[in-house]
Symmetry: C2
Subunit: 441 residues, 2 copies
């Protein structure tokens, strides 16, 4: 154990899906050390366990970073977010299709300017880290330079990140359209440059079925065949009006999902945001093909899109993560996103358990993204992406009534916690959390 770093704190992570297990700690789906030690060697997890046991195994010259009284968890994972929309969070009054026209497209138009893209991308990556998000699956815009900007910003801090150029060649403003040939060519160039570069992965990113011609969707499928390791990232069945329009636009399709399937976009490493208006046939098909759902509760509430059926998705064994969906979502904090997730499910008479939510933002999300061999828990050999939470930074959390068990404390963070309690974010063992920017004059 040369070059070992040790972090002492309460430590929590998932070993497997806690599911509907009532006692995930007892059954060891979730592992918790009240006084734990996390060992990192050369940016990778070396081990985790009770401090009292592990301390004696350390070389004598190892300095222990003391976060006692605080909580270390795996870095949070945002499975669906639009970085170019970071400045239009909380834009008033519309549902999906009008919201795109009125707010999203005008915001995305600015990314034709590479310098502008760079500034926003760097701000966005800082905000992710400030919120404790260490991996994200990110929409860029139709402009290749927007993809360059986000990959460069992530690369600079060593963040694991998935992104790609948006493909859209119809039903959107003229000046934001590409065409099937350009879309294919630009995507290819970006894949060649960025896929597997450091911690970066590429996602072929048709915005959604409505904004791509069949030819463009076919080109997207071709890219996936040529580059089997890249992702597919898009939206599916978010809004009823959207679903209806998809039916009209692809009259031959059995369902919205079928459109994507037809163009061979339904496969492993296909990430579909929302998936509110699906049926069990769709869900089973997704599960069989190894695709994943990004549940985006804050966005689904803010845009009035509807209530996601978590129980049904779980029953069908679909891979599942959570997404902030900023700017349709209202917060980059995955803690607050889980809080909204709980609210969505309460309205449906379902429950998002504290550990179940935690799983969806850590190991579950890693599985959804086929990254669970690399991130999402503290299993030996994984990349050391972790965050340090300090609940004492918020009085209401610190008081915490009678709720001193880790499960209740974790759950309270979904509602009372946010970026304020993220004391530190480590990427591959390096502390990276930026403090907030100085006030702009």
């Amino acid at each position: 154990m040369s070059n070992v770093s040790a972090y002492r704190a309460s430590i929590l992570h998932c070993l497997r899906d806690p599911g509907d297990d009532n006692e995930p700690l007892a059954s060891a789906a979730v592992e918790y050390f009240e006084d734990g030690l996390l060992l990192v060697v050369d940016g990778y997890i070396e081990g985790v366990g009770p401090a009292s046991e592990l301390i004696n195994t350390l070389p004598t010259d190892v300095q222990i970073v003391d976060y006692k009284g605080q909580l270390i968890i795996p870095g949070l994972i945002d499975c669906h977010v639009h970085y170019p929309q970071v400045d239009i969070i909380a834009s008033y009054g519309e549902r999906l299709l009008d919201w795109l026209e009125k707010y999203a497209y005008p915001a995305e138009r600015k990314f034709v300017d590479a310098n502008y893209a760079k500034e926003v991308a760097e701000f966005f990556v800082e905000e992710l880290l400030r919120n404790g998000t260490t991996t994200a699956c990110v929409f860029a815009t139709v402009h290749p330079q927007s993809v360059e900007a986000i990959f460069e910003a992530a690369s600079k801090v060593g963040m694991r990140l998935i992104s790609g150029k948006v493909l859209m060649d119809r039903n959107c403003p003229e000046d934001l359209r590409d065409d099937p040939q350009t879309a294919y060519k630009q995507s290819r160039q970006l894949i060649e440059k960025w896929q597997g570069h450091g911690r970066l992965s590429y996602a072929v990113t048709p915005r959604f079925a409505l904004t791509s011609s069949e030819k463009q969707l076919r080109g997207a499928g071709r890219l996936l065949q040529e580059y089997p390791d890249v992702y597919l990232h898009t939206h599916l069945a978010e809004n009823e009006e959207e679903v209806e329009q998809v039916g009209r636009q692809f009259p031959w399709s059995r369902s919205y999902l079928d459109v994507y399937e037809n163009f061979e976009l339904l496969r492993e490493r296909s990430i579909f945001a929302h998936c509110i208006h699906l049926n069990d046939d769709d869900r089973k098909q997704m599960a069989e093909q190894g695709a994943a759902i990004a549940f985006c509760p804050s966005s689904n509430l803010f845009l009035g899109s509807g209530l996601f059926e978590l129980h049904a998705a779980r029953q069908c064994n679909v891979r599942l993560g959570v997404g902030s969906d900023v700017g349709g979502g209202t917060s980059l904090s995955m803690l607050r996103t889980l809080g909204d997730g709980y609210k969505v499910l309460q309205l449906r008479g379902e429950k998002l358990t504290p550990f179940g939510g935690f799983y969806l933002a850590t190991l579950g999300a890693a599985k959804a993204l086929y990254l669970d061999d690399k991130i999402g828990s503290f299993a030996k050999g994984k990349e050391a992406d972790f965050i340090v939470l300090d609940p004492a930074r918020i009085d209401l959390l610190q008081r915490g009534g009678g709720t001193n068990d880790i499960c209740s404390r974790l759950f309270a963070m979904f509602f009372l916690g946010d970026d304020r309690i993220v004391r530190e974010a480590y990427l591959m063992g390096q502390a990276r959390r930026p403090t907030r920017r100085a006030k702009i004059a």
Copy 2:
């Protein structure tokens, strides 16, 4: 104008209900001064207007407090909140009736201890101020000492506040029950001591129909007749199971509302929290009798109670305010409460407009509480309760994309703002916002 204080900032307040008015600024339902001056004399509003005009009217020795770049609004009003539940916010997994048994009652039991009540009451009042709430309508517990504690804490800082002893003599834990005689007698004593004492008002507070005997409800009605100036504060039609049980418990009643009406609890200054499961007959009856609804969106989501019908309530002209309903609600911030209000209404296909929401937490709430001659706007002669918001304290708010008009900026604060942007809270012209407590070791 002796003893005048002047505050320079952007200033926003309502002159009347902006309703569905598309241009409330143009129609002067809402008044906004980009560079405004607020004048206060001896704790009361003297005037408000453009700084450039008012500055020349001031005596030369007046020092102007400069909050330039920040926003002054009337202090926010929370129409329904339980102070004894401040430490059980975000308690997991239940809907209303089970949530009461599992979390609320055990928390309230502790208020038998006057010292404990004092500590929590003082913390609660500090939290209100930190969140920019300057008036609240507050549930205490069944213990008279809990009422003493909250009135004393409010009195100490000069906060306008309404509270009262909870009445409950059945369907709740034995050791939290009073009886009709004790309830009546203790309420009377508290009314005699506190009603009209400084800025305090008393509310006769039956928890809800299920937890009071008919005799106790009759006693509550008698108190209101003997003390016509006091309030009635209770819950109404929050949860479907509750509504059903009320029907069984009061088989003679036409509706849940009818139970309260039967005991003469439906009148001016009657504040009913939730009111989700009502019909138009109920709403019209409430409007006619001058009663008010406290819309509690964050609680309604968190407890899965349902989606409030704002449009219907407005059509029936019921007085309306918003409530955090902590601990069923998840935040004491009225800004975040309005954000959740928007989400609730989006799910219904209704809209909470930015100024409409602002009205519900300021002048509308003041009208709901029959306090609009005293608070809720900057009309001359009102008590100078106001807060100073500094959006620059949150990067995402400060950036604010293309949204530089006051309407968009206000709306963004419902989602991106919270206690962090409340720079100062003034009560009767005195700065009172406490900084957060030192970290507890």
